[in-house]
Structure formats: C-alpha cells, structure tokens
C-alpha cells in the first residue's frame, strides 16, 4: 500500500555546499529534509519508491527510455567525490515493472545502470533509520522528446494502483525541481513566480492540473523535472500538498513537499 508521498529537491549544492551558496538557505532546506526523514520513520515503510530524472548518467544516447524501473539486487553510482550504493526492494521493483507492462506502460528495466545523483541527494538527507531498500523509477527529463506530463501523471495513476494493491508499505518520493536551467543562459534567473503559483495549486489539491501542462511550458519555466512530480501526483490524486519549504536560491527553486494521504 501507498503510505506516504513526498517531493524533494536534489540540487547538488545542497549536498556539496560550495562557497557559492547561501548557508542559511541551504540549512533551511536541510531542516525540511530532516522533517521528511522523521516522517518516513513514523510511517514505518518497507521501501521507498523514488522517481527521478536522469542527468544523462544512467542512459546516454545509446538508448533513451521514457520510463524505466531499476530491478537489480542493488544499485550504485558516483557523483564527483560521492560514492553511493543502495539495496533495491527487488520483489517490489519486479512487481512494478510486470504490473506496469500489464497495465499498458511499455517500461524499460535495468539491472545494472549507474544511479544518478538525482536519486542520491534526497536519499542522503531523508533515509530513515533503520534504512530502507529503494525502488528507483526513472523518468526521462533531459533528452527530448520526453514523456508528456499527462503520460507521467497516467503512469503515476497506474503506479499508485499497483502500490495500493501490494502488501508492502511504500513511500513514493519525487526527486527534482523546481525551476532551474542548468547549462543555459538562464542559469541565474529561474522562474520563481511560476513555482509559487504551482505550489499554491498543489496546496489546494489541484495536482491534476500539472497533467495538462505542455512539455514546452515546462522547458520554458525551467521545470522539465516536474515530470517526476507529475508521476507522484498521478498516484496521490487530489491530496493536498503540505509545503515544508520553498527556498529560491540564485539558481534553483528548492522545494520539499508532502502530500498527506
């Protein structure tokens, strides 16, 4: 069953803490992450299914899956000086890919792809104690053509039904967002007002509106990664968002959100 749903920023500067960052802002986001960690402990989950967008790390142009599921025994990756490894809840991962295909989603699966930092950063800060196995769920966000927000929302609907039908207590977590433009001329000028309006929509329980947004709009607003949020929104339906924090830095709208189920 689905017992919790969250969205967490994965801005690498939150982890690496270089001198370019506002210390107090970063620490406020850390405090929101700590709140998620306490919630995960209280929810007594068996696994975290984490939805993230690959930063051209696991999947290069040899094959670009729109949606993928990691179905190995464990997954590992590196990001600069960081080395990480997580056990995968293999029965749950397998059941998600099998039932997802049965429900009409032509999912890719991998037993070996490297794990992108988009998965690592939120887990570094929020992994409960004792730690949980994960199921990494990939959404293509950086290599066009990406899946439409509507498709992501529909996948989330199927995913939510799959999780509700299972015996494991699963927390669903979206990693990514909000507005940022890495590698472009817009890097230092995200669309914070767009983020704030969207958060108001989510607070009101109108998450389904994200499904109607176009891919072009997400690109224009620096929010290509909100496809991962669309997946979680598809699973939680009209639940209202509790925004733990929204902290706009000079390059990134950092949000931490829970949907109370």
């Amino acid at each position: 069953m689905l017992v919790g749903a969250f969205a967490c920023a994965h801005t690498p500067q939150l982890l690496a803490r270089p001198g370019t960052e506002d210390r107090d802002l970063v620490l406020r986001v850390h405090a929101a992450f700590a709140r998620v960690k306490r919630r995960l402990e209280a929810l007594r989950a068996d696994a975290i299914a984490i939805v993230a967008g690959d930063h051209v790390e696991a999947f290069f142009l040899d094959a670009v899956p729109a949606l993928a599921v990691y179905v190995g025994a464990e997954c590992a990756g590196t990001f600069g000086q960081y080395r990480y490894r997580f056990p995968i809840h293999e029965p749950l991962a397998r059941s998600i890919v099998e039932q997802g295909v049965e429900r009409g989603f032509d999912l890719c699966y991998t037993q070996s792809a490297p794990l992108d930092y988009a998965f690592y950063v939120p887990l570094y800060f929020t992994m409960p104690e004792p730690s949980l196995p994960i199921v990494p769920l990939h959404v293509n966000v950086y290599l066009p053509p990406q899946p439409t927000p509507r498709r992501c929302y529909e996948w989330g609907g199927a995913l939510g039904a799959i999780l509700q039908g299972g015996s494991e207590r699963v927390v669903l977590m979206a990693s990514g967002g909000m507005s940022h433009f890495p590698g472009t001329d817009r890097y230092a000028s995200p669309e914070f007002e767009y983020d704030r309006r969207l958060l108001d929509t989510l607070r009101a329980g109108r998450g389904r509106e994200l499904a109607a947004v176009t891919g072009e709009e997400l690109d224009k607003m620096g929010n290509i990664e909100l496809r991962t949020w669309a997946v979680v929104l598809g699973a939680v339906g009209d639940a209202k968002a509790d925004v733990y924090c929204y902290e706009p830095s000079w390059h990134h709208g950092n949000a931490v959100v829970e949907w109370t189920l």
Partner: protein
C-alpha cells in the same frame, strides 16, 4: 508561446553524437577525463571528433558547441568537472 522560441533542451541531432559522447565521457568517465587533461588531442582522436567540434571543445567555446548540437547540460557538467580537476574547489565548507 511563440513557436519561434527555441527550447532550452533540444533534440540532440545525430550529427552531434560523437560530440555529446565526448562531453558525456568528460562528465562521467574519470579515466577519459584524466586522459583528456593529460593529452586532449589524443583523447579527442579516441572519440573521433570532427575538427570543428574538437576546436570548439578545446577552446571551451560554449556557443559553438551548442550550435553544433551539444546538449547544454553536458556542456555545463563537462566544463564543471574539468574546472574542478584543474582548480580543486572546497566543498562542504559549512
């Protein structure tokens, strides 16, 4: 939205495959990055880059790289990882 407004992240043209392969390797392959820093010309020959791509890469000419189909995120991260090797950055300073 104006149709004339290009996307920030565009479809990577097949003509830029080797260029993006090279940027991907600079971002994610520690061995390739070390070889590039030791002898950029040899590393570039390993990938088989076109002369114009190689020149833009060595000069760090971002605009030309993007115009030739390089993915902006790969340009950004390849450059960041190279700079981090050349001038070590202090992390976790708070």
């Amino acid at each position: 939205m104006s149709a004339a407004e290009p996307l920030h992240y565009r479809f990577p043209p097949a003509s830029a495959y080797r260029l993006n392969r090279c940027l991907f390797a600079l971002k994610s392959d520690d061995g390739f990055r070390a070889r590039f820093l030791k002898d950029a010309g040899a590393a570039i020959r390993e990938i088989g880059l076109a002369a114009a791509d190689a020149a833009a890469l060595v000069q760090g000419d971002r605009d030309t790289l993007l115009a030739r189909g390089a993915h902006p995120y790969l340009v950004f991260m390849a450059d960041l990882r190279l700079r981090m090797e050349r001038e070590p950055v202090t992390f976790e300073y708070f």
